[in-house]
């Protein structure tokens, strides 16, 4: 636990140091840049809440990837599942107009169903044809990408718009704002809590974790690994779908071309940095959201392009993941030396 914390903090600090060198070389003042970065993401109540809202799709897709990877299935279909979730929520929001206390849960549920259908498709292909989900989920991303683009260009196109997008969904389907606090943040924390409970406390979660680490052992222990595989695929698809639904319901309130942005791939990256831990995924998700939110402010105040944040993210991933192995080696070497000294004395 302490080692994980040291590893994460050291990786982040080193990465920021490297980023600073990069900025210096290009003639910027790194101190000013970082001040602007954190001022616009954490500096005020408003920027903090904006950061939290931006964290929603990152954390949820990250959670999806973490749970999948830790349980065995290599679900890399978060981008497609997110889009399908967004489409399901949008279409329902276009045609239904129920009171909010029914509308909101319904749209959220449909978003999850959309994501789960898309990952379930991959699970079925594994079941029927023994096709690897590693490949099928990746390929289904492309299909979802073009399918949703078609859907918002033709059947659900907003005729008053100039680029592919749907009309706005019914107002009752908008995630309510309490002051500047968008309630999608609440849904995110609820989802994190629920997944944490399922993963670490339930029987199913125990079996998933065991299967993820040694599936032969789990099978011999009486675990129904096929059933668990399907459950994990559906749950992780639903989480990515939820991310998509919340993006629509909290933000533009309609499906716009390019809606998925890079959220899902960032989520996969977050899962890797977090080593598939649930709490770590939340923390790294919040941190990456801080960087991305601050990037806009940084661009406003300084001349540094916001792309530098992508470089920073990549360097953090490299340093934290690589550092994980190296810190082990280092601490082992240290312990060896210390114990030898004790023995020799």
């Amino acid at each position: 636990m302490r080692q994980k914390l040291i590893n994460g903090l050291a990786g982040i600090l080193l990465a920021m140091l490297l980023g600073a060198v990069l900025m210096l070389v290009q003639g910027y003042n790194p101190l000013q840049v970082y001040l602007a970065l954190f001022d616009y993401s954490l500096g005020s109540g408003f920027s903090f809440l904006t950061m939290l809202r931006n964290a929603v799709p990152l954390v949820l897709t990250g959670l999806s990837a973490s749970v999948a990877f830790a349980s065995g299935p290599v679900n890399l279909g978060q981008p497609g599942q997110l889009l399908m979730g967004a489409l399901f929520a949008t279409v329902a929001g276009l045609y239904l107009d129920l009171p909010p206390h029914l509308m909101l849960p319904l749209l959220i549920l449909l978003a999850m169903v959309g994501g789960a259908l898309w990952s379930g498709l991959a699970a079925m292909m594994k079941h029927w044809f023994n096709m690897d989900e590693f490949i099928t989920t990746l390929m289904l991303n492309f299909i979802a990408d073009y399918f949703t683009l078609w859907a918002i260009t033709y059947p659900f196109f907003d005729k008053s718009a100039y680029s592919p997008m749907t009309p706005p969904i019914a107002k009752t389907g908008w995630m309510p704002e309490i002051g500047q606090f968008n309630t999608s943040i609440l849904v995110m924390f609820l989802a994190v809590g629920a997944v944490w409970f399922i993963f670490t406390r339930t029987t199913a979660g125990y079996e998933w974790r065991m299967s993820g680490q040694n599936s032969l052992f789990a099978r011999l222990g009486g675990v129904d690994t096929d059933k668990n595989y399907l459950a994990v695929m559906l749950l992780t698809g639903a989480l990515a779908g939820l991310a998509g639904g919340l993006v629509v319901m909290a933000g533009p309130h309609r499906f716009i071309k390019g809606l998925g942005a890079n959220y899902a791939w960032d989520g996969v990256m977050i899962a890797m940095v977090a080593n598939n831990g649930i709490v770590a995924t939340l923390l790294y998700g919040l941190f990456f959201a801080t960087l991305q939110t601050g990037a806009l402010g940084m661009e406003l105040i300084t001349a540094v392009p916001s792309e530098i944040i992508m470089v920073l993210q990549a360097v953090i991933v490299l340093l934290v993941v690589a550092g994980r192995g190296y810190l082990d080696v280092l601490s082992r070497r240290f312990a060896e030396r210390q114990q030898t000294r004790e023995r020799a004395a």
Partner: protein
């Protein structure tokens, strides 16, 4: 006598808390066979790997022919004339023997091409010199394990190594092959080679070695002249207490038929017949042993009984229930299973001890879950882990520690505890003492006999004939997927079983 190698005050630590070598000093004399014995984890292999340059010692020094040396890698050790044969054999199966031998030190012609003729001749010369009875043109994939081991030794001799380190060389051999290896090692000694020989089979050590060094928990307990010691004394030095070599199997009446396998056959996906018409019956209070050279169908038989391979033919009845098509979980209500492969089948090394202990119990015993079986009760799991720990005298700190952090013997005790406490009428044991040390083996054997006394039915697969003879009431011999003999243990001999095991395997052993 002058010491050709002297290791002084060697300390080697493997964090977090393993002191593999704790100030070990030892001398090896030229032209002798030295045995290094000790339980698992005593530091035998580590000591040799430090000498061989595979591990760097944290402190201490090594003298070779009077000079201080410090090998940074095995290549440097070999260049100085020290070579090591590891437990696992590392050859390229698609290459011939001579190609494997010269790999890395190829004699080359003018243009840098391999001088195949010269290489072959050189290898043949060594083979003749040491009476190795190998054909240099044979492909490694076609020769027996024993022959492969000889190729490993040949590789080192080709590199003019004068000191040979052998890490448990007999562990991969059948009983018939061991004396041949010993003859070859004695011949090497006659030629002036020094041999360091790691083992935990005391009979072998007494038969072969001139001097024996006993390690215990990383310390040198003593070096003795082998002709002045006994099995009992060595065992006491190793374990630190008296070891009962004959675990007693008392006579008693067997009960009803518990396990019945009939007409089981299996053809693998490549179309090879792996099991043929297998019939096995085990009664309550009976231990049935299955003898056989590895790879004669044991793996398939175990996987079939456990339900990893679907059974298409024959029947499987345990405790009156037809399990032929049952799920693994249903089988587990009747079958406990201790596998030979702890890290792969028996446990998850990267999970906690507790998580390993409650596997299967979490489904079969309601007390580990609440809310209709959906939520785990980890407190109950901790209590159960403590019970297993006390009942099976497992040495461990915290049940949240990784399973990996336990020693091999303790890992096996955890698995044994988990399985035996499932309280099933039938227990399947696949080489349950593989890789364990003398003390742990004795412990496992006592547990097995306790189960027999309690009236369980046990099926024991083992490659160790001594173990089979000590434990089993009946011995079945498995050869090429067929049961070729069904023998009462008291009416047969190790030699007979050994012969039956190899019968039909002649063509493979002929090269020896």
């Amino acid at each position: 006598m002058n010491a050709i190698i002297e290791m002084k005050d060697i300390i080697k630590v493997f964090p977090p808390n393993v002191v593999a070598l704790d100030d070990v000093s030892v001398r090896f004399e030229e032209g002798k066979i030295h045995a290094i014995v000790g339980e698992n984890g005593a530091g035998k292999s580590t000591l040799m790997k430090v000498l061989y340059g595979m591990h760097a010692a944290n402190s201490g020094s090594i003298y070779y022919k009077g000079d201080k040396v410090d090998f940074h890698n095995p290549g440097e050790a070999i260049a100085s004339g020290i070579g090591m044969v590891h437990q696992e054999i590392l050859l390229i199966p698609e290459y011939t023997i001579w190609q494997n031998v010269i790999l890395g030190v190829e004699p080359v012609g003018l243009l840098g091409q391999i001088d195949a003729q010269k290489a072959r001749q050189q290898v043949q010369k060594r083979i003749d010199e040491y009476h190795f009875n190998l054909d240099p043109d044979d492909y490694v994939s076609d020769i027996s394990i024993a022959a492969r081991q000889k190729v490993e030794i040949l590789k080192l001799l080709y590199r003019n190594v004068s000191i040979l380190i052998l890490d448990e060389p007999t562990s991969v051999l059948t009983p018939q092959e061991i004396p041949k290896l010993f003859d070859e090692l004695r011949r090497l000694r006659q030629n002036g080679h020094t041999i360091l020989f790691i083992s935990h089979h005391l009979d072998e050590v007494l038969e072969l070695s001139d001097r024996t060094t006993v390690l215990k928990r990383g310390r040198n307990v003593g070096t003795v002249s082998t002709d002045q010691t006994s099995k009992k004394e060595l065992a006491r030095m190793m374990v630190g207490r008296e070891v009962v070599f004959k675990t007693k199997r008392e006579d008693h009446e067997v009960g009803e038929k518990v396990f019945e396998l009939e007409k089981l056959s299996y053809t693998d996906p490549e179309g090879r017949l792996r099991l043929k018409d297998i019939d096995i019956q085990v009664h309550a209070g009976e231990i049935v042993g299955i003898a056989g050279v590895e790879g004669n169908g044991q793996f398939e038989l175990v996987n079939m009984i456990m339900g990893l391979i679907p059974q298409r033919e024959g029947s499987l009845i345990v405790d009156g229930e037809d399990l032929r098509q049952a799920s693994i979980l249903n089988r587990r209500e009747k079958i406990s299973f201790v596998s030979q492969d702890r890290g792969n089948m028996g446990a998850t090394l990267s999970a906690s001890i507790k998580e390993n202990v409650i596997m299967t119990h979490h489904r079969l015993d309601g007390r580990f879950t609440t809310l209709a079986g959906h939520v785990m009760d980890y407190q109950e799991a901790s209590a159960f882990t403590a019970q297993v720990r006390d009942q099976f005298s497992i040495v461990m700190d915290d049940d949240e520690d990784l399973f990996r952090s336990l020693s091999g013997g303790n890992q096996q005790k955890v698995i044994l505890g988990r399985e035996l406490l499932l309280d099933t009428p039938f227990i399947l044991l696949d080489q349950p003492t593989r890789g364990l040390d003398v003390g742990s083996i004795e412990y496992v054997h006592r547990q097995i006999l306790d189960m027999r006394r309690e009236g369980r039915a046990l099926l024991l697969l083992s490659a160790d004939l001594d173990e089979l003879f000590r434990m089993s009431d009946r011995i079945l011999v498995l050869n090429r997927g067929e049961i070729v003999a069904d023998l009462e243990t008291d009416e047969t001999t190790i030699e007979e079983v050994g012969y039956l095991m190899l019968k039909g395997l002649r063509d493979e052993t002929e090269t020896d």
